[in-house]
């Protein structure tokens, strides 16, 4: 009997080699080009010459392909400016190829803890760009994810996995939005005990994820077995249905869950294998609406003032507001996520993006797309952003909150590609997975220059715990690397903001402030339409981006040179 050759034990480069047809591996931006992160050495962290990402061109089943392989052993596979730009840039090249009629397949080996907290906002921003490129690329070829472990995929990179057309996972692969340590830090040990390894694997491990349909194939940790599954998916071509687009299915599944009762991995396996009776779903809906209670928040204040509706009608998920009103002489759709103290899911009561919020945002965005289908001029969508975080909870992870967030990312990006101008207005915190879900896929981002407006990848307490530093050390590091800071002024140096609007109190806007912002929203919509740009490439061409994102720009231009 032949012994198994472990795929998990391979390093990133050898994994890429194994996935490509023999002898076709050609690395782009390889080790000797020394394109390493410029942000680590100033913080006393040893960089790696390829920044932990291998980009390889070659053939799979004789077809043109790119393999992107993340090295989990280097900084936990964390996504920084360079590694993120390598992934996004390679996917963007593949999109360009396919647009020109040159079929190029894409396989991504995920082994990533998510955002590299030492580069924070660069990572979060890169992940938004990676996600945007995946949504575009899925229209041409299946974007295939391989999640072998040991790390698996966490944070924003689990949302990215939620966008994949097909996923091959092993028992050692994990998929989860919030890592156990982070949930324990944010929500307490009673919510999630990060020392209970058995419970963790049963909840977020590859076997469970595949069993509940969040991954397609559970493969043995064997090179031949894994490469064979990937080859099958390449041959099958793009699938007719994508997980992240199945809004109704997932919403109805989550509605059937009673969050006040304990629920375990085996319960989910059983529940999600059945078809649902719509009557039961209706019953739960009406109960939820009855419990609605009004709590003011920045998001709600701005939503009400911009729309002129002080008591917006709510759907069956009251924490997501959505309405169509005129802005100038055009109808636009406003969407906001707001606190609901009676939220069925206790971990999502303070305005966090939870299981129902992600899918509901997706629903409202897709509704606008369907209604405008075939129209020449698509309705603009304005995301009012005031999201403190994603919901940290056991049930959230068990029920695949990353997939819910991916659903919203998919909807926003798809709407943008379909020609809906998407504008985000940052009026409060825009943190981590919550911002990726609601706002980061916008064509243009406008932010208030207000101390309550923050952009970041993780709360300071959790970031300190994960990177094993003190909060003082983090603050010190942020002075050297602006992308690590939390304030909107530092964030604006990345060049992603269309405008940073000063002189407005984000918590109590005056009537003239509202008019001022409405004008800016209209202008952003117009600029978006005139530019004709539907991807996120304009984020790299602003004046500030030339310096703020110099490394990301360099990586992309080098990739272009070496692509063919």
């Amino acid at each position: 009997m032949k012994l198994k050759d472990s795929f998990v034990e391979l390093r990133a480069r050898d994994r890429a080699k194994a996935l490509l047809d023999e002898g076709t591996f050609r690395e782009l931006l390889g080790p000797f080009e020394r394109i390493e992160s410029p942000h680590l050495e100033p913080q006393g962290i040893v960089p790696e010459c390829d920044d932990g990402v291998v980009i390889a061109r070659g053939l799979i089943c004789g077809e043109r392909a790119v393999v992107i392989s993340i090295e989990g052993a280097f900084q936990g596979g964390g996504i920084g400016e360079v590694s993120g730009a390598k992934i996004a840039g390679a996917l963007e090249r593949a999109v360009k190829d396919n647009e020109k009629g040159i079929k190029t397949n894409a396989v991504i080996v995920h082994d990533s803890g998510g955002v590299r907290l030492q580069e924070a906002n660069y990572g979060l921003l890169s992940i938004a760009e990676i996600q945007s490129a995946i949504v575009a690329l899925r229209n041409y070829v299946p974007v295939i994810g391989v999640i072998p472990g040991k790390i698996g995929c966490f944070g924003g990179m689990s949302m990215t996995a939620g966008l994949f057309s097909k996923i091959v996972i092993t028992r050692e692969g994990r998929m989860t939005l919030n890592g156990p340590e982070v949930i324990e830090q944010e929500a307490g040990v009673a919510e999630f005990d990060s020392s209970d390894k058995r419970m963790i694997w049963d909840t977020i491990g590859g076997a469970q994820r595949q069993a509940i349909g969040l991954a397609d194939v559970l493969a043995d940790d064997d090179i031949t077995a894994i490469t064979e599954e990937v080859r099958i998916f390449v041959k099958e071509g793009k699938p007719s249905e994508l997980r992240s687009s199945q809004v109704d299915l997932f919403l109805s599944r989550i509605k059937m869950v009673d969050p006040s009762k304990p629920i375990g991995p085996m319960d989910v396996r059983e529940m999600w294998s059945k078809d649902y009776i719509s009557k039961d779903v209706e019953n739960i809906k009406s109960e939820a609406v009855k419990e609605n209670e009004k709590v003011m928040s920045r998001g709600r204040i701005w939503f009400e003032k911009l729309t002129g509706i002080s008591n917006p009608k709510v759907g069956d998920v009251p924490s997501v507001l959505c309405t169509d009103v005129n802005l100038g002489d055009e109808q636009v759709r406003y969407i906001a996520v707001i606190p609901n103290p009676n939220n069925r899911f206790p971990r999502a009561r303070n305005g966090e993006v939870g299981l129902e919020e992600g899918w509901t945002v997706a629903k409202y965005v897709r509704e606008a797309m369907e209604e405008d289908d075939g129209k020449e001029k698509k309705r603009p969508i304005i995301a009012v952003v005031d999201v403190p975080s994603q919901a940290y909870g056991y049930k959230e992870e068990l029920l695949g909150i990353f997939q819910s967030c991916a659903g919203a990312v998919d909807a926003y990006a798809s709407a943008r590609y379909a020609g809906h101008p998407i504008v985000s207005l940052l009026v409060g915190p825009a943190i981590s997975g919550a911002f990726l879900t609601h706002g980061y896929q916008a064509n243009r981002i406008i932010a208030l220059d207000d101390p309550g407006v923050l952009v970041h990848a993780m709360s300071k307490q959790s970031a300190a715990r994960i990177t094993k530093r003190s909060i003082e050390e983090l603050d010190e590091a942020a002075k050297k690397v602006p992308s690590m800071a939390y304030d909107i002024q530092s964030y604006s140096t990345l060049g992603t903001l269309e405008e940073l609007v000063s002189g407005i109190d984000g918590a109590a806007p005056k009537a003239e402030d509202i008019e001022n912002i409405k004008e800016k929203l209209s202008k952003a919509i117009e600029v978006t339409r005139t530019s004709g740009i539907r991807d996120l490439s304009n984020r790299l061409t602003s004046e500030k981006a030339l310096t703020g994102r110099a490394a990301g720009i360099k990586v992309r231009s080098r990739l272009k040179e070496e692509w063919n």
């Binding site: 000797f32 050495e41 010459c49």
Partner: protein, 99 residues
């Protein structure tokens, strides 16, 4: 993190460049490139400060055994001396052996 540089006299050339390892816990990466000059230059970036003498001893021994004109870059994430020596020999082997 500490950055260390070392220099040795050398006479023999190696056929081609080699890359081995990973900047992961207890490991290191090595980039080895042949150079024209009769010298060996080594630049080490290491996670742990204060081990210059140990690095010097390891590299002295390596270049005593292997008279090669190369530029070597090491990015170290806490490898033991045994690991360092093994990776250096591996880099040399890749440089000489593989087609």
């Amino acid at each position: 993190m500490e950055k260390l540089t070392f220099e040795y006299a050398a006479t023999k050339s190696v056929p081609k460049r080699a890359y081995v390892g990973v900047v992961g816990s207890g490991d290191l990466e090595i980039l080895l490139e042949p150079i024209e000059e009769k010298k060996a230059y080594v630049v080490v970036r290491t996670r742990f400060d204060g081990f210059e003498q140990i690095w010097r001893d390891m590299l002295d021994r390596f270049f005593e055994d292997n008279d090669i004109a190369v530029k070597i870059e090491i990015n170290d994430f806490g490898a033991t001396p045994g690991m360092v020596t093994m990776r250096l020999l591996q880099a040399l082997e890749v440089s000489i052996d593989e087609a």
